[in-house]
């Protein structure tokens, strides 16, 4: 869905491309044996290779290549059987080698496509240009000493996947959905933990604008290193609006690298085109080309779990879920797996989806809890839904029971038993209560004969007298008979 920016001279559209950096899940770094784990003491996970001591040589970690190939397959992308690591040369204090080992014209993964789900229930395909493998840089810390900068090389050399999209994105919403989809996919296949707060995933955002209907691309700018979906969307809106203003005032856009300042809500120049690095890419002579065969690719393929798109299709086709529920449920691997556990224990899968999507997710959101910390076990939720299905309790009572389960983690049957919430399905008992209500309210009885819609009032009375436990369907049926 193209978002339009209304300018003073007409309508503008945004053209957006994302470069998503995703840290690879692997035991050790891309080119050395140091642990790639997060949270170690500064400079603890650093070998002579990572700190670029004289005579040290890189050796490609096969696991990182495997993860990149798996991710490529999950993105429906072309896998290149031969890829080449290249050096990207620049000086910085947290880049010990003076170059980053990356991939230039021969990446491991080529073109692919991802389908994104949009708010209005529609989907859109975003093209992937490539996925390449590279080393992460270390970290410079500037705020711990008045004159000095500190360097932490723990992250230096950790494997990254850079996933480059085509400029197919047309709105901040699409950009957010695209990023989230990549996040979902890498989390499904365990190639990246996707935790943005740790910097495991971040994005460079390329934005340009053009008048609606214009086929040519405008000059783009790049906002580097954005580390949340909210900021990605904000940066796009801020930057696109800035560009429209400049163009409408007769200005030109400089192709440059910009920094998004979330606090000030602005983007500003980081590096102009003139200051742009000349990275002097060339094939790394310390490494041989990476050559993989069909067997390796097939092994990668076989190791993939059911992917979110496939799962969504299955939920729709097998369980009869709506596209919306399907999309919501598969967006997170753990949510999907929770739902599947619930669904396996009940007959009505759609009812299960409703419960998970509205009741459970609502309660979790309100309590600010992750599905991992959910106090209600999937099996217990399934039991609760079964109690509705076999008429032990009504849907309304079930909500009460659920609230209790969420608080106490007790089993639904226990709560129903303890509180005596079992539904009254005995015709005689319900008839007795109905008779009492009829006897006590002759005026209402007279009115309902004129206006049958008033029957609802009687239902309410009966439910009140049974503390909501009477089977609503039976109450309705019996009342209709008696008040005929």
């Amino acid at each position: 869905m193209t978002a339009i920016i209304k300018g003073t001279t007409g309508d503008w559209e945004m053209v957006i491309g994302l470069e998503v950096h995703a840290q690879i899940i692997s035991q050790s770094k891309l080119m050395s044996c140091s642990p790639a784990s997060f949270g170690a003491q500064p400079n603890e996970n650093v070998s002579f290779v990572d700190s670029a001591f004289p005579g040290m040589l890189p050796v490609v970690n096969k696991e990182c290549v495997r993860q990149a190939v798996r991710t490529g397959l999950a993105l429906g992308a072309k896998i290149n059987k031969k890829s080449v690591f290249a050096r990207k040369n620049y000086f910085y204090a947290d880049l010990p080698q003076g170059y980053q080992i990356s991939q230039a014209d021969q990446p491991t993964v080529g073109e692919g496509v991802v389908t994104i789900d949009l708010q209005d229930g529609t989907t859109k395909e975003i093209g992937i240009e490539r996925l390449h493998i590279e080393q992460d840089a270390g970290k410079s810390i500037h705020d711990q000493h008045p004159e000095k900068s500190f360097i932490d090389l723990n992250r230096s050399g950790v494997g990254l996947m850079e996933i480059v999209s085509n400029p197919d994105i047309r709105s901040a919403e699409e950009a957010g959905a695209y990023f989230t989809k990549i996040q979902t996919i890498v989390q499904y296949i365990d190639s990246c933990d996707g935790i943005m707060a740790r910097g495991s995933m971040r994005a460079d955002v390329n934005v340009s604008v053009r008048r609606v209907g214009d086929k040519n691309l405008g000059t783009r700018t790049e906002c580097k290193n954005i580390n949340s979906v909210r900021f990605i969307k904000q940066a796009i809106m801020v930057e696109a609006t800035r560009q429209v203003e400049i163009l409408e005032n007769g200005g030109v856009i400089d192709q440059e690298t910009r920094l998004f300042d979330a606090e000030k809500g602005e983007t500003r120049t980081m590096r102009s085109k003139e200051d742009a690095h000349d990275y002097r890419y060339f094939p790394d002579p310390d490494l041989l080309p990476v050559v993989i065969d069909d067997e390796f690719i097939n092994e990668c393929k076989d190791s993939l779990p059911e992917l979110p798109d496939t799962k969504k299709e299955r939920f729709i086709n097998e369980f009869g879920l709506s596209s919306y529920d399907g999309a919501v449920l598969v967006a997170n691997k753990k949510n999907a797996s929770y739902f599947e556990k619930v669904a396996s224990g009940v007959k009505n899968k759609k009812l299960a989806a409703n419960w998970v999507v509205s009741e459970l997710f609502g309660a979790l959101k309100k309590a600010e809890l992750d599905i991992n910390d959910c106090p209600v076990k999937a099996q217990d939720l399934a039991e609760l839904i079964s109690l509705i299905e076999d008429n032990t309790i009504s849907g309304k009572i079930a909500k009460e029971v659920f609230a209790d389960m969420f608080k106490t983690s007790k089993k639904p049957a226990v709560i129903v038993e303890e509180k005596g919430l079992k539904q009254i399905t005995d015709t005689g008992a319900i008839e007795g209560i109905i008779d009492t209500v009829i006897t006590e309210n002759p005026n209402q009885v007279a009115k309902v004969k004129e206006n049958p819609k008033l029957i609802g009032w009687f239902v309410g009375q009966v439910m009140q007298k049974t503390a909501g436990k009477a089977n609503p369907a039976m109450v309705n049926k019996l009342l209709a008979q008696k008040l005929k």
Partner: protein, 483 residues
């Protein structure tokens, strides 16, 4: 007792085995010779105390019958090989204060074979140079004349073997850095096939061309050294996973039926008479030994030298980026990071290193990459193909190794291009990754040693050594410098 430093590795090993002398005696002789020849400036760092304690261990091993293949052999390493706990400078101010906490694979292998290290040998800064004069620690002198260069970049490695201050040495050869100084100093040196020896722990100059190899008193000593330093190393992705033969076993002197190619393109313009003559003599010697001489053509030879300098400098410019003063080595503080880089690198690197970094940066720059780097890579492939084709009809090639004997210190100094021309016979095989050996075969008109080069197929060091040995036997080169 005879001067123990005159013995070759094979002779000294026999002597130790027969208890004619001890490893401590052998090592002491070399330490004395190191002192005596100190003026040649072959060593940057001497580890004599450690060498003596190693020699005692060697004697114990010999006494207990646990003699390793090179037990008690006092060698020395080019100061480009990282040695644990021993300063490793690459001949530069940049690494003047650098002591690695790790040992290069090659020096480790030699130590495990029983070798004793006498110290670290002088070299052109970061192995860049052909005259051994660009070291931060001063130039190396040639044992054959104190006013002469020892060649480069493995200047100390060739000088020490020639001056008998090490029984053998390690060197590295990116464009001729083992073979040229060996020729200038009248000793034998082989550059193995690219991938034969691990580059791990060796300060990198040009990764796709660098290769470690031995320098020895004769071909046999080189064969023994090579057998003990070669082999696959998981830590070097470019090291070849193929078995290492017993190189000494092929030294029979019999080259009957061996086809030796003479590439016509090596008859360069203005080739000095004495070089042409010694080459001609070499052919006759090999024919005498039973080999067959075949004329071959390597048509792209003349493009190899310029293309070599483009590739080597490109890789060097990137390889030397790590010397930034941040984590180790020389540092000059600056107000900002960029200033620190500038000051550190300006002061830490010598002229030749800076020149090559500049050239390398230039040829990799946007707009020049295709015209220089890519073109040079194409030349490289053509050069490699030339060799491949030639080796369809011959087993090895015989060529000169240097265009002249050792020249005077200070000569060619002002003209880098003229200096680079020294490598004209040596760089071609580096471009193709092939093995090549320099063998001393005679003296120049001025009484200086001259060498010839045998070039072989990839991973066929055996034929190179076999032909070189035959050449050596025929040449009967027994001249020694007057020390």
């Amino acid at each position: 007792m005879t001067d123990l430093t005159k013995l070759t590795i094979s002779q000294a090993t026999t002597g130790l085995k027969n208890k004619d002398f001890s490893a401590v005696e052998l090592t002491t002789s070399y330490i004395n010779q190191m002192e005596k020849t100190d003026n040649l400036n072959a060593y940057i760092t001497k580890t004599t105390d450690n060498a003596l304690s190693q020699a005692k261990i060697a004697d114990n091993n010999i006494a207990s019958g646990n003699m390793r293949p090179m037990e008690g052999m006092p060698i020395a390493h080019k100061d480009l090989l990282c040695t644990k706990g021993v300063k490793t400078t690459a001949g530069s101010k940049m690494l003047d204060n650098f002591t690695p906490d790790y040992e290069s694979t090659v020096s480790q292998k030699l130590a495990e074979s029983g070798c004793i290290s006498l110290g670290k040998l002088n070299l052109d800064q970061f192995a860049m140079g052909s005259n051994g004069q660009s070291s931060f620690y001063g130039g190396t002198k040639n044992p054959w004349g104190n006013d002469l260069v020892a060649g480069g970049s493995s200047s100390g490695s060739a000088c020490a073997v020639s001056a008998r201050s090490a029984i053998a040495s390690t060197g590295t050869d990116t464009g001729g850095s083992i073979r040229q100084p060996s020729a200038f100093c009248g000793v034998a040196g082989i550059r193995p096939t690219y991938g034969r020896c691990s580059r791990w722990g060796v300060v990198a100059y040009a990764s796709s061309l660098d290769q470690v190899g031995p320098i020895g008193k004769d071909v046999r000593d080189c064969a023994i050294m090579l057998s003990n330093m070669s082999g696959h190393d998981e830590k070097d992705s470019t090291s070849a996973n193929i078995p290492v033969p017993d190189f000494e076993a092929v030294l029979t002197g019999d080259v009957k039926g061996l086809k030796i190619g003479i590439p016509k393109e090596y008859y360069i313009d203005d080739m000095p008479q004495e070089i042409a003559k010694i080459w001609d003599n070499g052919k006759k010697m090999l024919v005498e030994a039973g080999a067959e001489i075949v004329d071959v053509s390597l048509p792209h030879t003349k493009y190899a030298l310029p293309a070599y300098y483009i590739i080597a400098c490109a890789e060097a410019s990137s390889n030397l980026s790590r010397y930034d003063g941040v984590r180790y080595g020389h540092r000059v503080s600056g107000k900002e990071l960029d200033e620190m880089y500038e000051l550190t690198r300006s002061e830490g690197f010598g002229e030749e290193v800076k020149r090559r970094i500049l050239m390398g940066t230039y040829v990799l720059s946007a707009g020049f990459y295709d015209a220089y780097y890519i073109k040079a890579q194409k030349v490289r492939r053509l050069v490699a193909n030339d060799f491949k084709k030639a080796f369809e009809s011959v087993d090895a090639l015989l060529t000169p190794i240097t265009p002249s004997p050792a020249f005077k210190i200070g000569e060619n100094q002002e003209d880098p291009v003229k200096m680079y021309l020294n490598d004209v016979f040596s760089v071609t095989l580096n471009m193709a990754g092939l093995p090549g050996m320099s063998v001393p075969v005679g003296l120049s008109d001025s009484g200086l040693p001259l060498g010839l080069q045998i070039i072989g197929k990839a991973f066929d060091e055996e034929t190179v050594l076999k032909a070189s040995y035959a050449l050596e036997k025929q040449a009967k080169f027994d001249a020694t410098p007057n020390i």
